[in-house]
Symmetry: C3
Subunit: 330 residues, 3 copies
């Protein structure tokens, strides 16, 4: 394998990632995954460096994952809490970012309900001539690259625990089921899965997956199909990725009821029979039990990768912070 170097300071979207970059991340995450099995699950890599979690949109789960990844790398962490912050006092987001820059922040992990905020912060850091790296931890409906990368790692590790790599996805059928149009997770996954050569099948009610959605992803090496019913997507699938359904969608009249959604698109044991026998189920969490997945499926630890995704998340985020911080792939 060629010793490709990592040259990316920010991780904002997967749109222009190369296969080589995905593979560096997978290899690096695999080595951190091994660190996490030791009794002392800590490395001194980022000792004395400062990582600021700027979660303008709150998220305990993702923030905990990044905070722990930073601590496992021995970095110091500041958590920006929007509730009691200067933002309520009229400060702009870029001013907030510059304040944390002036405190000596090396990397910023940014989540915001508006698309483009992490990119704007990254541009400002470049304009100021800093070396600060920005990681997009979710911006509006746009992107959530670390979630897609942990999903990629989870799938590749499932197919080859010792050597997760993108080529394992070539020709695999991967179903993505649920609220595609409102999902930054789905968007980011599409870039990585199709770049890896997977056959991606999207399934959702027509209101949650417009036809024109496909255009953006045309040029990739994998294939992409859209279904308004779940069965053709599950048929012979190797992996089924489910998406979280936001209850707000009901208020917007995009969905009749949670019950009807589950009847049409929920993953049940019966429906799993359509897939390959080795199929595994994924979900970015938190799961609405009885909506996206039946409790029976979710609690079947033989077929659910939901917990594995959380563990992968830690290893992948350690890898991303490590690479952004100047580390070279293993």
């Amino acid at each position: 394998m060629a010793t490709t170097e990592w040259n990316r300071r920010h991780i904002l979207s997967l749109e222009d990632f190369t296969l080589a970059e995905y593979d560096i991340i997978l290899r690096t995450a695999a080595s951190f995954r091994e660190v996490l099995t030791r009794r002392t699950r800590k490395v001194p890599t980022l000792q004395g460096r400062l990582i600021t979690n700027m979660f303008f949109e709150p998220s305990t789960r993702t923030r905990s994952s990044f905070e722990l990844a930073a601590k496992r790398l021995s970095a110091d962490v500041l958590n920006f809490a929007p509730g009691t912050s200067s933002l309520t006092k009229g400060e702009t987001i870029l001013d907030t970012a510059k304040t944390y820059l002036a405190m000596g922040t090396d990397m910023m992990v940014v989540r915001h309900k508006q698309a483009g905020v992490p990119q704007a912060i990254a541009r400002e850091m470049e304009r100021l001539g800093t070396h600060v790296g920005v990681l997009n931890a979710g911006d509006g409906l746009h992107a959530h690259p670390s979630q897609a990368l942990l999903d990629l790692f989870t799938i590749c590790q499932y197919f080859d625990p010792d050597s997760p790599r993108t080529e394992l996805l070539k020709g695999k059928k991967i179903a993505i089921v649920g609220d595609i149009v409102h999902s930054r997770v789905a968007r980011s996954n599409l870039w990585s899965l199709m770049a890896s050569g997977a056959e991606v099948h999207l399934a959702a009610p027509p209101t949650l997956i417009p036809k024109q959605f496909l255009e953006a992803f045309r040029s990739n090496s994998g294939s992409l199909s859209i279904h308004w019913q779940i069965e053709p997507a599950l048929d012979n699938a190797d992996i089924v990725m489910t998406l979280r359904l936001q209850k707000e969608r009901m208020g917007e009249h995009l969905l009749p009821s949670l019950r009807e959604y589950h009847q049409g698109f929920g993953i049940t044991r019966d429906r799993l029979a359509l897939c390959q026998s080795h199929v595994r189920i994924m979900h970015p969490g938190p799961v609405n039990r009885g909506v996206e997945l039946s409790s029976e499926v979710m609690d079947d630890e033989r077929i659910s990768l939901v917990q594995a995704q959380v563990t992968s998340g830690l290893a992948v985020r350690m890898a991303l912070l490590y690479l952004m911080g100047g580390g070279k792939g293993p």
Copy 2:
């Protein structure tokens, strides 16, 4: 002293604790109490281990104590914040626990306003074949074992600073005054005090201490009496433990007024004259001044153990995390 080993992974209730177990905790806490007097009050015992504080019911004081205990043992700590969490998004408590398990949590410290939640999490951790230990930091009206253990340590250390041990309590008269029926602290204290052979006297208005309350605690080695007036409980008492009065009780018509409660059951200097001259006053905090205790009594550092309880709390919680984490008693 026999070298008894510690074999308990979870600390959920004191109901089935043995005297030997109490004594291991007291000895271990005493050794950590000594560590806390050093200039560098830190030991590397739990380096690289992860402790997650899951306080579904918020509590700055108890959470700070556990967080600091973990840090003094060099563990990493994640604080789960219910306000901004996935729980508001419909995730179940067990799913939340499994998420933190998948992040590599070694021990969970759980507080919930509903009785039984820490036990349910512990059962799930066992069912999954994990080695994660669960510590009940307060569940509904049921139990608050670490508070009772720090109270035990505080009392024993008062009677013998060099060698706190359960036998010091044999035949001691201990009054517990206040809202017994709604107090998980009182329930947990009853197990440890009576197992140690103390003579426990409960005092409260009839609405806050039903007669049938006694049944559960019949089989223990100490003795238990109930009084609807405070004087017989204080008479010749060695220790007076007061309980926090929740102001909500008034709304439930269980109490006439805070003022009347204080007249009937508040600890004042006059009432202390009924006790032994060496009597000491305890309270789990935070104190409602002028309700459970007069300010005069509370601020008299010669007779109040309230601050000592907080310091004991840190030493005892270090001991519990240490023992749960596989350490053997000193």
Copy 3:
């Protein structure tokens, strides 16, 4: 320079600070400023010591600065969160402080919307015979010494990066513009700037700067003038310090509108032409863009010291915690 030793346990107000003390702080901060430029920006100075941030009045920015300063010195940090605290349960502030004392706190950083709270806590710590130091991180309208000290450091470092010292301020004209009467930052700055021999010119609408305000500061070595228009204050100024305008002032009928305030007292490029050509602009943050400063001025990194103030804040707070913790000046 005489080797003066540091003998102050608490930092509550700058009212009685000596020039020698200011200079120790400046030298110590300069040495920490250098530490912060290293790759590993951490020193083991306060390893195992405990610093508790007691921010009864919330503040992400100042709390982050103190938290990071403590971590850079390798101290452990507890953050007291007023929202979920025992205070809502009726505990007094002194009881809260004593609880954190009993947990082993070495230093308390206290912010409260009421003047005098940090002083009361410091008195209680003295009365109890403890060695705990208290740092006032802002009390009501009274004082905010660490902000004034970081402002002092920022100005002195601007005039001599290698050797910041108070004598650099002798005869310098410093304008302070804005809501003087409601500003604890202005009050604290007046003590340090005038003690250093600066010529301080205050400018504000009459409602925000009463004449009698001057009385308290009469005895200092610098000079103090008041202006109800901005031009004489800016005329030939070396430094312009702007103050944050609280929007609440409008409700109190002390100000017509933000727009009129900006027309009368906002710093614009035109107005800067009145000052010395080397003039620099300061603001404690967060800035209301278009109110205290025009965006054009704020974003001009050649003349704004706003980011430098944040960086200075970290170095100065490290110095203060270091000195309070028993370190001697370099």
